[in-house]
C-alpha cells in the first residue's frame, strides 16, 4: 500500500554565500571554514532533537566564478563532506546571484526548494569588499522569486568601513534580516555561527498573505523575532557560548 517510508521531514535550507576573492585569504577564510565545520556539527545535533526538520546546507562561493561546494547545490548536513574553501580571484557577486536564482526554485522546476511545504530558507552573504561587477539586474531577478522573498537573509561585512559594500548587503537583505559589521576577523566565526544557529531554531507556522497598499502579498513571518534574538545575542558575542 502507500509507502510510509517515503514520507520525509520538512526541509530547512541554510545557504551560505561566501566571498572567496583574493582579499579573503588568510584569517578571514580560515574563520569561515571553521565556522562551517562547527555549524555542520551543531545542525546535526539540532536535527536529532527535532522530529520534523531535515537541515540542508548549501555553500556557494564566488570569486572570478561562482561555485557550489562539492558541486552540490545542497547536501543533507549528515552527508556533507566539507573541505576548506580556498580564496583567490575577483569578486563577481552577480554570478552568485545567478546561481541562487536557479537554486531558489521548486525541485520540479530544477531548483532545490521543495515542491510541497518546507521552511523559509536561511541565506547568509559574507563579503569583505564590493563586487567587481554591478549586480542590480541579478538581484532584481532574485526579488521576483517567492522563495527569496520569504527567506531570512543576513549579510556580514568583514573588516569593512565601506558604504558601497554596506549598500550592496542592505539591498540583498531587504526587510528580511540585518547587515552585521564584523570589524575583527577573529570574531567572524562566532558571528556566522550566531546568525545561522539562532535562525535555525525558528519554526514556521502556517500563515496567510496580507495585501499591502500595492496589492502585492506581504509575508507575515517570524523574521522580526529572529532579528531581535540575534541583535540581543550580538551584544554578547564575545562571551557567547553554546
Amino acid at each position: 500500500m502507500v509507502n510510509m517510508d517515503r514520507i520525509t521531514k520538512q526541509k530547512l535550507n541554510v545557504i551560505l554565500i561566501v566571498d572567496a576573492s583574493t582579499s579573503m585569504r588568510g584569517k578571514r577564510i580560515t574563520e569561515v571554514n571553521n565556522a562551517i565545520r562547527e555549524i555542520k556539527d551543531y545542525l546535526i545535533n539540532l536535527e536529532s532533537e527535532s522530529s520534523n526538520v531535515d537541515f540542508y546546507l548549501s555553500i556557494l562561493t564566488f570569486s572570478t566564478n561562482a561555485y557550489w561546494k562539492n558541486n552540490q547545490k545542497e547536501e543533507l548536513v549528515d552527508n556533507l563532506q566539507f573541505q576548506d574553501i580556498k580564496a583567490g580571484g575577483w569578486s563577481n557577486l552577480h554570478l552568485a546571484y545567478q546561481e541562487l536564482n536557479i537554486a531558489l526554485k521548486k525541485e520540479s522546476k530544477g531548483g532545490i526548494m521543495p515542491d510541497f511545504g518546507g521552511y523559509a530558507p536561511i541565506i547568509l552573504l559574507l563579503t569583505d569588499g564590493h563586487p567587481s561587477e554591478i549586480c542590480r539586474k541579478e538581484l532584481d531577478e532574485l526579488n521576483t522569486k517567492p522563495w527569496f522573498n520569504v527567506a531570512l537573509r543576513y549579510g556580514i561585512s568583514i573588516e569593512l568601513n565601506d558604504n558601497k559594500t554596506k549598500k550592496i548587503l542592505e539591498d540583498f537583505v531587504g526587510n528580511n534580516g540585518d547587515v552585521i559589521d564584523c570589524f575583527d576577523a577573529n570574531k567572524l566565526k562566532n558571528y556566522i555561527k550566531l546568525i545561522v544557529l539562532t535562525a535555525s531554531k525558528v519554526k514556521s507556522k502556517s500563515t496567510s498573505f496580507i495585501s499591502n497598499n500595492n496589492n502585492k502579498p506581504v509575508v507575515i513571518s517570524q523574521n522580526k523575532q529572529v532579528k531581535q534574538e540575534i541583535q540581543t545575542a550580538l551584544v554578547e558575542v564575545d562571551n557567547w557560548e553554546w
Binding site: V2, D115, S208
Partner: protein, 286 residues
C-alpha cells in the same frame, strides 16, 4: 465510481490540545458528485479557523449543488469568474451569519496581544481563515476550485497533475493564500475539465502532501499505490486509505491535520454515496 473523504487531527494538535482545523466532505446523488478538503490556519490569530474550514466546505457545496453544467456553451470565462465570486460571497455570508450569532468571547482572545485583538475586532473574518480545495463532477465535466496550500490534483492513469500549475509559486514555506485575505478573489483558481481526459480528482490539505516534498515522490509513493489498490478492490482500498490518513495525522506525518477527498472513475463500481456530513448542513457547533 469511487467517492470518499476523510479528515484526521494531527499529532501536534493533539499534544497542544487544539481542535482539528481541517474539514472535508464528499457527496453524491444521481446528477453530481461534490468533494472538498479545507484547512483552517494554525496561527494564533485564526481562533475560529476550524469553523472557517467547515463553512468553506459548506459554501462550496451550496454553490456547486445549485450549479448546472448541462449547457456547455455557457461554460465561458465569465461563468467561471462568477462561480469564484459566488463561492467567496457564500463563504463570507456564512461567516457573517456565524459571527452575528456568536460574537467573540473574551476567553477566545486568551494568549493574543493587543495588536492581534485589534486586528480581529477590526476584521472578524480573519479569525476564520482557511484554504479550500473542491471539485464537482456533473455529466462529463469536472469543475475544480482551489485557494491556498495543499491542492487539487487530477489523476490521469498513474500520473497526477496539479489542476492549477500556475498557482505553484503562491504558496511556499507553509505560507498560504486564504479565503480570509482581502484579495482572496485574485487567488481563487477555478477551471473546467473534460471527464474523458481524467480518471479522478484528489483534494488534499497540506498535511497530506507536504510530507512527500516533491511531486515525484508524491506521485510514486502516494498516488500510484492508491490507484493500484482502487483498481484491485475499491471497497478495501478506501478502508486502507482512510486508515493511512489517520496514521499520517496521528503519528507518521508532520504533525498537521490531514484531509483527503477523492473521486476515482476507473475503479470497481463502488459508489459510496456517502452523505455530506450532517453537521455541515446544520449550524456548526462552537
Amino acid at each position: 465510481m469511487v467517492v470518499f473523504n476523510k479528515t484526521c487531527i494531527g499529532y501536534n494538535h493533539i499534544y497542544d490540545n487544539i481542535v482539528c482545523q481541517d474539514n472535508s466532505l464528499s457527496y453524491q446523488d444521481d446528477k453530481k458528485i461534490i468533494i472538498a478538503a479545507c484547512d483552517g490556519h494554525g496561527g494564533a490569530l485564526y481562533i475560529r479557523s476550524n469553523i472557517g474550514s467547515k463553512l468553506a466546505c459548506k459554501a462550496v457545496f451550496n454553490v456547486f449543488n445549485k450549479l448546472s453544467l448541462d449547457d456547455k456553451e455557457k461554460l465561458t470565462e465569465e461563468f467561471k469568474e462568477k462561480i469564484k465570486l459566488d463561492i467567496l460571497c457564500e463563504w463570507n455570508s456564512l461567516i457573517e451569519n456565524h459571527f452575528s450569532n456568536r460574537p467573540f468571547l473574551d476567553d477566545e482572545f486568551e494568549g493574543l496581544n493587543e495588536s492581534q485583538i485589534k486586528k480581529l475586532n477590526d476584521n472578524y473574518v480573519k479569525a476564520y481563515g482557511t484554504t479550500m480545495h473542491a471539485a464537482m463532477i456533473q455529466n462529463d465535466i469536472i469543475i475544480c476550485v482551489s485557494i491556498g496550500d495543499g491542492g487539487t490534483f487530477l489523476i490521469k492513469g498513474y500520473k497526477v497533475e496539479d489542476a492549477f500549475p500556475n498557482s505553484e509559486d503562491e504558496n511556499v514555506a507553509n505560507i498560504t493564500c486564504s479565503l480570509c485575505d482581502d484579495n482572496a478573489y485574485d487567488y481563487i483558481h477555478l477551471d473546467i475539465f473534460s471527464l474523458s481526459e481524467i480518471d479522478g480528482v484528489l483534494c488534499l490539505t497540506d498535511g497530506v502532501v507536504n510530507p512527500y516534498q516533491s511531486y515525484d515522490n508524491f506521485e510514486k509513493s502516494f498516488v500510484k499505490p492508491i490507484i493500484k489498490e482502487l483498481k484491485h478492490d475499491s471497497n478495501l482500498a478506501i478502508k486502507t486509505i482512510k486508515k493511512f490518513i489517520c496514521d499520517l495525522g496521528i503519528s507518521k506525518g508532520i504533525g498537521d491535520d490531514v484531509s483527503i477527498a477523492m473521486i476515482y472513475t476507473r475503479g470497481d463500481e463502488f459508489g459510496t454515496k456517502e452523505s455530506i456530513e450532517k453537521d455541515i448542513l446544520t449550524e456548526p457547533k462552537d
